[in-house]
């Protein structure tokens, strides 16, 4: 099953490079996404129905020594399954959006009103191919059970997504691509260092980098080396995840990439990097270092929220604004994971809701861009007069992402806050609330001005026809997030709980 999930997008991606016909290639993209989602859903269903591997990672072995099993490269536990679920759902929406988007781009290749130049797009074959290979790499990341392999695959996602960011061939996207490539590659090189430390920590136990083996031997791992390993892994994957102060590539890449790519980067790729940190965190927690790792996660999580809040005020570009919002949510996830207990559950719920909401918002931002031909906030006014459906979604997305009830994000933020207070981190809770308020105010100003506001009639502006194919995925995602806030189905609750338990240590104990 896992093999199929990985090879399907891989094969489709390679095929996409050689298909000449646009229609056939787009159909391939859509059908691969649908099939992949079906397979993922099936896997999730099987795991929930039969309860396979929903406990901790080590639960696979039922107390047996991992040496009795041949180490498998790929297998799903609840955490990986949860993240692949998000990714696959997101990709399904993205694929449908991309088809509509590519068709629109083909008809009307880009012209950048901000910089006032005309540019070409990358060949659609490359774009589609890389998109599918990107999915394959992310699937493999979530399933990978070896930290070394996980590293190689995360680096692969960086390399495969770089051409996606450079879809619009102009200076600014090139600059963003270069920064993304270099900062993430160097950051992830540090994670490789962390892997080496991890290997050295388990040298006496012969655990290597195999995750179940590391869990099994957690108590015997060398503690100082393990701490060093966690630090390096945290910095490495934290760079990729966009935690402050390693986030510098993120706003650039997200603002310059096409909307569909921004959505995937924000909703799926950041999660994959987070998974890397969570794996390391789980090993450390198992070895009794939960306090140490939790403290680091909380510190940088809080720092990210703070940075995002400060940079959002006075932001001039609405896609950058969304990117900073992603940094904020990554901060909340890290904070939740660091606090553990109920907050870990909140973090998982937050990951799911944030991915869907942010993807929806980026999808909508693509439509706004198509309508207004600018990313400058000051130039977009009175959106509802020109594109009413888009405006509604834009505003809805704003309310969801800032955590208005009822939504999954509200629940997630609330759970994190509750846990912070329960554990007596009053200053943390106060700062958290304050910066969330700042964030809300900063975003509210922008979104409300963009949606309502006085619209100036621009000369020679053609009426804008809202592309339905690009709005429906966003609408569906928003509906899902709202319903998450109202009702959590039993199976999802179970999946979330076991995923939160997969964070290990204190997090698991708190439930």
């Amino acid at each position: 099953m896992i093999t199929l999930m990985m090879t399907l997008p891989l094969a489709a991606g390679v095929t996409a490079f050689i298909i000449r016909n646009d229609k056939a290639r787009r159909a391939l993209l859509q059908w691969t996404a649908r099939l992949h989602f079906l397979l993922t859903a099936l896997t999730v269903w099987m795991h929930v129905r039969y309860g396979m591997g929903l406990n901790l990672f080590s639960g696979y072995f039922g107390g047996l020594s991992p040496r009795d099993h041949a180490p498998a490269w790929f297998a799903y536990d609840a955490l990986g399954l949860f993240f692949i679920g998000i990714t696959s759902l997101l990709f399904l929406g993205a694929a449908h959006y991309a088809v509509a988007y590519l068709a629109a781009e083909k008809r009307d290749p880009g012209e950048d009103a901000d910089a006032g130049f005309i540019f070409n797009n990358a060949p659609e074959t490359v774009f589609t191919g890389c998109l599918l290979l990107f999915l394959a790499a992310m699937t493999a990341v979530t399933a990978s059970r070896n930290m070394g392999l996980l590293w190689a695959l995360v680096e692969a996602t960086t390399l495969l997504s770089a051409p996606l960011i450079y879809f619009h061939r102009h200076k600014r996207s090139l600059e963003a691509t270069w920064k993304y490539l270099l900062i993430c590659s160097v950051g992830i090189a540090l994670a490789l260092m962390g892997n080496l430390f991890l290997g050295a920590a388990g040298l006496k136990t012969g655990a290597g980098l195999d995750l179940p083996a590391l869990f099994y031997n957690a108590a015997a791992l060398d503690k100082p080396l393990l701490k060093a390993a966690f630090l390096f892994l945290f910095v490495g994957y934290g760079t990729k995840m966009g935690l402050s102060p390693f986030h510098t590539w993120l706003p650039d890449a997200h603002s310059e990439a096409p909307a569909v790519v921004s959505a995937l980067l924000s909703g799926a790729l950041l999660n994959c990097a987070f998974l890397g940190i969570l794996r390391a965190n789980a090993v450390c927690a198992e070895a009794g270092l939960a306090d140490f790792t939790g403290g680091i996660l909380m510190l940088f999580g809080f720092l990210s929220i703070l940075t995002a809040a400060l940079f959002m005020l006075g932001q001039r570009d609405y896609k950058r604004l969304l990117a900073y919002s992603s940094i904020e949510h990554m901060g909340i996830l890290a904070l939740g994971a660091g606090l553990g207990g109920g907050a870990a559950f909140g973090a998982m719920l937050g990951a799911l809701s944030h991915s869907l909401t942010k993807a929806g918002l980026f999808f909508t931002s693509g439509v706004v861009l198509a309508s207004e031909k600018t990313k400058r906030i000051a130039d977009v006014r009175g959106l509802w007069r020109r594109a009413p459906a888009t405006a509604v979604l834009w505003l809805a997305g704003f309310f969801l992402i800032t955590g208005m009830p009822p939504s999954g994000i509200f629940l997630a933020k609330f759970l994190v806050l509750k846990e912070a207070i329960r554990l007596g981190h009053y200053w943390l809770a106060g700062g958290y609330l304050f910066f969330l308020a700042v964030l809300f105010a900063g975003m509210a100003k922008v979104f409300i001005a963009m949606t309502f506001g006085e619209r100036e009639a621009k000369a020679g502006e053609k009426p804008f026809e809202e592309p339905r194919g690009m709005l429906v995925p966003a609408a569906v995602f928003f509906v899902i997030v709202v319903s998450l806030g109202l009702y959590l189905p039993g199976w999802l609750n179970m999946l979330l709980e076991s995923a939160a338990a997969g964070l290990g240590g204190a997090a698991g104990a708190g439930l």
Partner: protein, 221 residues
Amino acid sequence: MHTFAELIIVLIILLDLALAVTGSLSSCIRLVAVQGVVAGLLPLMAGAGAPHTRALLFAAVIVTLKGAVFPWLLMRARDKSGARKDVEPLISYPASILLCIGAFIASSWMGSRLPLPETQVAWIVPASLATIFTGFLLITTRSKAITQVLGYLVIENGIYIFGLALFVEQPMMVELAILLDVFVAVFVMGIAIFHISREFDHIDTAELSELSDWRRGEYGK
């Protein structure tokens, strides 16, 4: 035999220093290639007894990649981009070399503090840390896109040596996946450099500063 391995370590450190002071882009590329090859041969020297077939094979792959393929790719990127032939450092060469020495002192201190398993070859940990630092130095204080790729490669070399020092044996598949990643990274970066030189007429990364929240660039109008 170990003295020989130690000499190689010294050679690696001297290559770091040379990288810090070399002004010509093509000799920088060559130095990085030499360092990669030397690092690739190190496990054959340090190990006791005859090396395994696996080690030999792996060393062969590394030497071909780092000694032949990467320099070729980078030289091609350099020629195509029509860049000026020197690295244009942002700080003076003496400052670079002093930073390098400082890094080496710091890394030997760190190397003595780290609770690492005993290695038979002296200096391997400080050498690897110093190499990683040199890579960062190249990335941060040189203004060309190519030197940033070189810095990335030097960091990779350093981490590779560090891995040797820790005796972490990764499965063959993982090692090869890592190498493949590095290869693709250099390849993709090479393409990016080509595009940068076409769009910007040069590969000076100081010009890549339009996207920023600090400067009033495009959006400040």
